[in-house]
Assembly symmetry: C5
Homo-oligomer: 355 residues x 5
């Protein structure tokens, strides 16, 4: 067997299933672990490089949120796996950042993989995989790099705003997923702005040679966004219907509400998709319209002057015996004929609505 060319050799795919090996591109030098432990009346936050610091909190009756930034330090992840009795496939999926969003229900915990979207400084949309393990009294989140969309949530926990401090780990899971959907909303909205800008440009006839590639770029981007967000809807739906004991009956109302939001996100994506296709059609139509106009100008000029030039050509011939040439008013008669012809042509074009 021979593969013709392989630009990105995906060596990991040849490892035995269940091997923990980070496949992503983001090798943060330091893997940091952020531990938040809270209950209605207590709150502790700890930034550490040692994941074992989190294990002290386990026995208590509180909720522990352990957030791991950076996936190349697989040792930390293995320790967590051991401590929380995670399935080998879960650990493998945590470090495989090419994974499709999904939910797996295990006996003791839920495992959720999803994508976090954000625009980089250069306006390029970036996709970062986040994995989440939700247990009875803990939530583990794994991110490829520092920086996320959960800052506002952290603040709410620390300030005891809203009802989060009085709820269990399932509500924390909901709050994290809610932050992710809000993140999707704002990315999609921004994307919608770009589409509208492009549409305005196309209609203002300010489209230039780069318009098709811009449209193509948006097409590809929306396909990629769709692919990252659509499975998320299925995840929330399965969460809402799951009979897993971790999820309290009261949290289900919130999940149903969240599900409505994800449907709204999906529908907006499909709407934008149709709009991009539509802009493409519009662009093609406008090109056709322009070409039509160009052709009309050419046809009008050519149709008027080619016959006139012919007449001039005729009386430019050098035959000895051309009686018209010697008529006194021959020249003026020819002018008159040409002007009449010119006017007839104009009337014809006016009738055809070309002018």
């Amino acid at each position: 067997m021979k593969i013709k060319k392989r630009r990105k050799p995906n060596k990991a795919s040849n490892l035995p299933p269940g091997t923990i090996s980070y496949k992503g591109k983001k090798f943060s030098d330091v893997t940091t672990v952020e531990i938040i432990n809270y209950s209605v009346d207590s709150y502790t936050k700890l930034d550490s490089k040692n994941v074992e610091d989190a294990f002290n909190f386990k026995e208590t009756n509180q909720v522990t949120w352990i957030n791991v930034n950076g996936l190349n330090a697989t040792k930390n992840i293995e320790k967590l796996g051991l401590h929380y009795h995670l399935h080998p496939l879960t650990l493998e999926d945590v470090v495989d950042t090419t994974h499709r969003p999904k939910i797996d229900e295990f006996e003791d915990y839920l495992f959720i993989v999803f994508k976090m979207l954000y625009f980089k400084d250069d306006g390029v949309l970036n996709y970062e995989q986040v994995s989440m393990v939700v247990g009875e009294s803990y939530v583990l989140t794994f991110q490829e790099a520092d920086g996320d969309v959960f800052d506002e949530l952290r603040e709410r926990i620390s300030n005891a705003k809203g009802r989060i401090r009085s709820q269990g780990s399932d509500y924390l899971m909901y709050a994290i997923l809610d932050a992710v959907v809000d993140n999707y909303m704002s990315v999609i909205e921004d994307f919608g702005d770009r589409i509208e800008d492009l549409e305005t440009d196309v209609f203002a006839s300010e489209s230039n040679g780069s318009t098709p590639s811009q449209i193509q770029g948006l097409k590809r981007e929306i396909l990629k966004i769709r692919r990252s967000i659509f499975p998320f809807r299925e995840i929330i739906n399965r969460l809402e219907k799951s009979e897993c004991k971790i999820i309290d009956i009261k949290t289900r109302s919130y999940l149903r509400d969240l599900y409505d939001h994800t449907i709204q996100v999906s529908e907006t994506i499909d709407l934008y998709r149709e709009m991009i296709w539509s802009i493409m059609d519009m662009y093609m139509t406008l090109i056709s319209n322009k070409m039509n106009e160009v052709m009309k100008v050419l046809t009008i000029i050519a149709t008027i002057f080619i016959p006139l030039t012919f007449i001039a050509g005729v009386y430019g011939m050098n035959f000895n015996n051309m009686p018209e040439l010697h008529y006194k008013y021959g020249y003026y008669v020819v002018w008159a004929v040409m002007i009449v012809l010119f006017i007839l042509m104009l009337i014809y074009f006016r009738r055809k609505r070309w002018l």
Copy 2:
């Protein structure tokens, strides 16, 4: 994380879930509350700014319809929520006017969100969200601004027309939804008129440069209408099948009838959608046809006169030794040749069906 540009900062999305904060654009200065209380033989109507006036009616065995206009006075809404024991998420959804139409079944009440469509004075289609809470003996409706499609219904209640006065809150809910579907019908019909006008214009070749943008406008509008109305169908379907105790068995026949109407609305929307796409195709075809005609005119003129001009050019050359120039009838022979050529060309074009 950095979002490149955000024209409409959606600040509310960072609030903890369950916060009541109006996100819409319509800040009516005054929030008015309209209370209608009726039974078979009694009828009271009260316009007030104080929502507490409605609470007196609660104990009675009658139906109370409380309509709140204006959502920025969240205090009134919170009072209603408290009085009727509404879930925090319900109150949050009432003031979030970007919500997708939906139905939520709670233990004591049904919560329905839908859109009301109407044309503004400038012909622009406007979308207003209405929320409705239906309890055992009361219906609450929340609107963003004054003015709605329920005036005829109010009159029917006050005049005791139809069977409404003898029915419970579930029939009032049905009557409200029925008025909304009638509203959809008439908006869609009006939209259909626009499409037909455009189609007529395109075929009358009276299309001009603005036609593509008109078509594009209709495309976008129909996509938006579709998105507002399609979930409504699902709402009615779930209402009809709901086993909620609020809905009487007799009301179900009416809901089934209403469901048939919503299907009809949806199908009409899809029909119009196909028609718009079809008009676009037609427009492209007509442009191609026109360009074809323009090209034919150009080709006929050029094909006839370019060879003739060449002949004239030949005898305009100044060679000393050009015997034809000195023939007595040379000039006339050339004319004859040119006329024969002209006629041959005409025959050729006639054969090609270009003339």
Copy 3:
């Protein structure tokens, strides 16, 4: 609220639900009632203007078919409703001729609404709504105007042909629906002929300026037909699966057979739909092909003669010092050059397969 323009004010939509008011356009001056009463060995036919004449037949053990022509005499319809205990919504739907085909099962009777299609004298396809109420021993049909597709069925009943006289009201219902499907078949077949005629025209290049509007017309018509016939399939399906006691087990085989026919009708409609779209594509291709041919003729003529005309132009210049003009064979050399150029061009076009 303001509706921009309303060509067909749909006033009835503001009436309370359940009001009986005819919304159609066909006000027959006389509403006639046709009563057919039969059993295996008896047959009575009565044409009357008074619907009460039918009520005498009710007690007997026979099948009574009451056919009402003309819906503006709502009094007759109300009397029937009272006599047969019909639900108010049924009566409302009978006179609402804009209704989508549907089936409603009530306790004592089935209510079916469908469309009858026929071509008017001017070749325009016409849609007429027929409502049918099927009870234990009676069938009521309501039509907007005289004339229908049931004449052959009436004859079969009067002549006792087939098994109809020995069967109950459910078989009569089946026979009526069967006649309707046959009607659909023949309309669709006729429509297929039109499509094939158009296709033949397009390929014979006899298409003219009106072809796009013809295609568009067929597109719209097929969409309308589809909308009228597709719900009918669902009606038959539900009838076959209905557990309603009115439909005998033996009649179900016939309904299953009828269902196969309606599927065939639906599939034929979809086939024709695809064919119309396909003709449109073909038409566009042929226009492109023609334009290509036109362009080739123009290009060949222009490419040959423009350079030759240039040469003639050069030797038409009036410079004093142009030695070629004084060569003895200059003129002939120029002709030779031009002929050689002409031949080279022809070879070039032949190579390009343009000739």
Copy 4:
């Protein structure tokens, strides 16, 4: 009611349901009946014109296959119906050759209608309906004309090849359906060859004016094939899942295998369908490409020579006072200018990648 025009009056559609009347076009003069009776160790074959000859075999414990060729002798069919207790609708469907493929389960027998496809001598694809009745110990097949795809199967029975002789009527049914699917396979394969030939032609730019009509022809044919074969898949699926006592548990494995084959046939049809659409697109692209090339040639020639001709025209003017004409090297300078212009144009076109 008036039908505008009816080329193929479908008179039979006005007959009462259940009437046996052949609607097809193939009136074979002789209706032949072929009777094959076999068990593990016996085999009888009989060609007869009298269907009653088959009834002698009925009592035995063997499998009887009665094949009727020609459907206009409805008497034979009625006799069979009487003898085997077939439902009137079954007999009606046997002679209605416009029927959609389907399966009906009756108490004592299965009734299957399907299409047999074959190419006629002129390469036109032909569709022939075959009906099959499968009972406990007999199989009846009805064909419109002589000649079918079962010869190899007959040979296998007579030679006792394979396991057919040791199996019941359900295995014979399977063997017949298997032969039909093999027939579909080979027809589809042949169709695939045509598509590939056409694709090769289009790419070899050997497409000519008839290409669009060829593509259109293939489009229509594939739609028709699809319509004939797709319901067959459903038939096999229902057979496999049927709880009918005629089908032995052992035969189900074979039916499942057959079902896999029919899915393969359906998928191949859909693949070919997409390929035809794709060829159409390709053809359009190639036309556009050619037109582009034609336009380039025209533009290059016109753009080079029109300015040069203008220069020649200027010095062909007859003004008295044109000093350039009297310069000694004026003529040569003009030539130089024209050549430089010519070269500049060539460079420009080279830059634009038009040459």
Copy 5:
């Protein structure tokens, strides 16, 4: 019956069902059998030409993997079938290499058919069918030729890497399927590279005449890949849900994980499919854009010089009485007029944004 032309006579299709006859094109001269037998602490590997060598291992409590390379030696396959009690249809399907991927559950074993994809040296994508029989303690695989994607798996078994040695035949089945999905992944990735290369070419305007045929080639290839891989998804889904006793509960987690991977593969295929269609659109747009540009150049040149040439033509006429010719500055005035005209034209084109 007559088939017009048959390039690939598929004789096997006329054989009785259940006949074992190889239909593929790859007749390896030698059929080799590779036997791997392992348990946690034992490992034997045997390459043989005699399939009976494998039967010694059967009694042991270990897992036996028998891999047969080359399908034309049907005798070996029949011996295996006899030894392992395989159904005749299974053996038939093993040698029918045109089969659609599928899974069949028999009482004692699972039978799975799938495709292995790889690029040949000339970059052509090749499809090879692999059949797999999974029993209680054995796995049989059948390949058309030497060389496969299981080398890494064999190594893992021999080196006792991962958990494979401690698991049963169901885990071996999973490991084989996992290797196949990894193979799909890498083929699809390579295919994605080709698409991106083509897209880059199209945008770099380096597309040439061969671009449409390249796009068409990719279209056809993706349709073929889709057809080979999509049924595989269904296979894994059915495996995961199968209640077959061969598959251990612990293996199901792995199969679920595998299912997620196959969904990812399918979605990537659909993404690439949309991208190819999109590139086609883009290519058409760019052609239109180019043609537009060509037309503009032609129109600008013709529109400027045709009127000027006309003027020159007028003063090239030879009338006796043309007063302008005798004006002292007539020639200069004409030049001035022509230059002004030229400038006006340029301004006009600038306004139209053509320059």
